[in-house]
Symmetry: C2
């Protein structure tokens, strides 16, 4: 029962699909966006507010929670849901990506990846088994296998070597998983293969033959041109099973999400809405803008007149600009609520469009509106 | 009708009193604590949440709002209430105290006080009339006259000179007030007199003879010993009219508030609950503690088992400690909600005790509990 994934509707002109994924902590309609709760909180926003924005599932980072407060604290708290006060679903990554991006020192061994904590310089070894042990302590609902994140650009030889190691680690992860009690949690494999279409295909087929609950597409949006990312996506998705969820890790802008949905992706996470909010950049139906701009000094309109979020119902651009310039902490809450609301409503519109058989119209109107607002500037 | 102040109950053994102050934006039960919204926001907490904590009136700082975003922006927004999304009452100070404490340069002239902005070094002249003009643009419900904040320690001569100037400014403020349209806003005078009981008495009598809607006691809690503050309070309050609210500016700890209530004070504001929250110090029924402490690492109890605030209902000390150490923005919201809740409930308990004729018992039990928790440590 947990892990059941139903396709409710397939778009006739693209690969987009409307689905339902059953997790231990609720049913998730896909395509879905997962707000990021790196260290066990969606930055600046209490969990009730995140839930009220209709978020069904959050992503938390195993690397951060492993280093601080440590998996044992969270296990004793009764798991991450209890610890952070979020009763809905949580997906945890393997910790690998942060090892590659945050740790000053790292060494990839066959056994796992050795790294130094970015907090205190202490040395750690993260293995596929250890990643799953940590994720079990966190008691997340969807867990990811440890993979090797391949830098961009990489040679074909290096890409092949790291992709093979990813497969070896995936095997070991599955072996560990079969002997442990998953209690209904789901395990996702991660496709690598760098920027080589045939390696992507081989990686997808290898992982699918192992049999995971879902498949993530890793190693994209790592600095390559956008066209190349979409090309790799197009090369990967057809080799993933129809009846399993597909998750594009760490992507992306609304445009990127729209294009990935059109190529058959079901799940997304990205720090953009929350991180941009903290930096003062807001997403609106007419494009993005920065709240610091002098033109908003006496602009008493909401951030986005088409938005009905708490921030847009109650506060003006002039007030938000004032908070931003004054360094008032409330700005982080208000802009994060707005940006998350924008992303989550965008996903709901995508789902509605697929369900109504008008995804292609939605996609076209999205680009038309974007063009118009660019010309209007 | 606006400004009516009724005493509902007088304590038989102390000067404590239970009252109701009618403002344009609601009736305020006294003794009351006013959370501080310096630059037009209670730091880290959205106005709806502040209202849900039963705050009836906020204090906003004229100095900060004058410099940024400027009174004209707020006037055009429709006043501070609309600008910041707070429909209940607002008290604004005169701006004088911040001129003395924040501005690098200041010069007290008979006309007013010349100062440099702590933001950009620009030079400004704040006069009694100008302070009231700014407060009129903010459209606050209770406004304060500009006074001279007398440093501690000061000679008798200096104290006398500044107290006389305070009286002169109070006269000019009243003259301005009578020719302007206050539309039901209230104007409070501020008693000075430094640390000299007879000057305090003279200042109180002088201001009372002018006839204000309420009386603030200024220039206390400026570095003097606590005993001296209470002595000055005892010397001042008897010379203020029974039928007007009394406001002790910038005070204080729960103990200070309790002692001031016992001496007949009705209104309080202080940055302690909000500022301490941001620094990780929490108020509880068993005293204050710092959330950073290692002893809370696996302490899964709420901050204060006797507290029912949102933070205490949902989160453990272990989680809050984790957020604090991780620099997660959510900690500011959660600890501020708790500390404000503590202060506002403390005031409600004081009011209940006065109403039930057992204020002295409440005061004694407060000190007994404090002593026990100190001994228990």
């Amino acid at each position: 029962m947990w892990g059941r994934f139903e396709i409710l509707k397939r778009d006739s002109r693209t690969q987009a699909r409307l689905g339902r994924l059953v997790t231990r902590r609720g049913v998730i309609e896909t395509p879905v966006f997962m707000p990021v709760a790196t260290a066990g909180s969606v930055k600046a926003v209490p969990p009730e507010v995140v839930a009220a924005l209709s978020a069904r599932i959050l992503l938390a980072n195993t690397y951060h929670l492993y280093l601080r407060p440590g998996p044992e604290v969270i296990r004793r708290a009764g798991g991450l849901h209890t610890f952070m006060g979020w009763p809905r679903a949580i997906l945890t990554d393997s910790g690998g990506f942060q090892v590659y991006s945050l740790s000053g020192f790292r060494e990839i061994l066959e056994e796992g990846v050795r790294f130094r904590s970015h907090l205190d310089g202490s040395e750690h070894l993260l293995t596929p088994e250890k990643s799953l042990e940590i994720q079990a302590a966190l008691d997340s609902d969807i867990r990811m296998v440890l993979d090797v994140c391949i830098p961009y650009p990489s040679s074909r030889e290096e890409t092949e070597r790291f992709t093979d190691l990813t497969h070896l680690w995936a095997e070991r992860s599955l072996a560990w998983w079969r002997t442990s009690s998953s209690r209904g949690a789901l395990l996702f494999g991660i496709v690598q293969g760098g920027m080589f279409a045939d390696l992507r295909q081989r990686s997808a087929e290898t992982l699918v033959s192992m049999g995971f609950d879902g498949y993530a597409i890793g190693g994209l949006s790592v600095g390559e041109p956008r066209e190349l990312m979409l090309e790799m996506l197009t090369a990967t998705v057809p080799h993933l099973p129809e009846d399993r969820p597909r998750y594009l890790m760490g992507v992306g802008t609304p445009e990127d999400i729209l294009e990935a949905v059109a190529r058959g992706v079901d799940m997304f996470d990205c720090v953009l809405p929350t991180r941009n909010a903290r930096r003062g950049t807001v997403f609106t139906s007419e494009g993005t803008f920065h709240i610091r701009n002098a033109r908003y000094k006496e602009d008493f309109r909401p951030l986005d007149p088409a938005c009905g979020c708490y921030t847009c119902r109650r506060f003006s651009r002039a007030y938000l600009r004032h908070l931003f310039h004054s360094g008032e902490l409330l700005i982080y809450f208000l802009l994060t609520v707005h940006n998350l609301s924008f992303y989550l409503k965008f996903m709901a519109e995508i789902r509605r469009a697929i369900g109504a058989g008008r995804f292609e119209e939605f996609r076209e109107s999205f680009y038309r509106q974007k063009e118009e607002s660019l010309c209007g500037k």
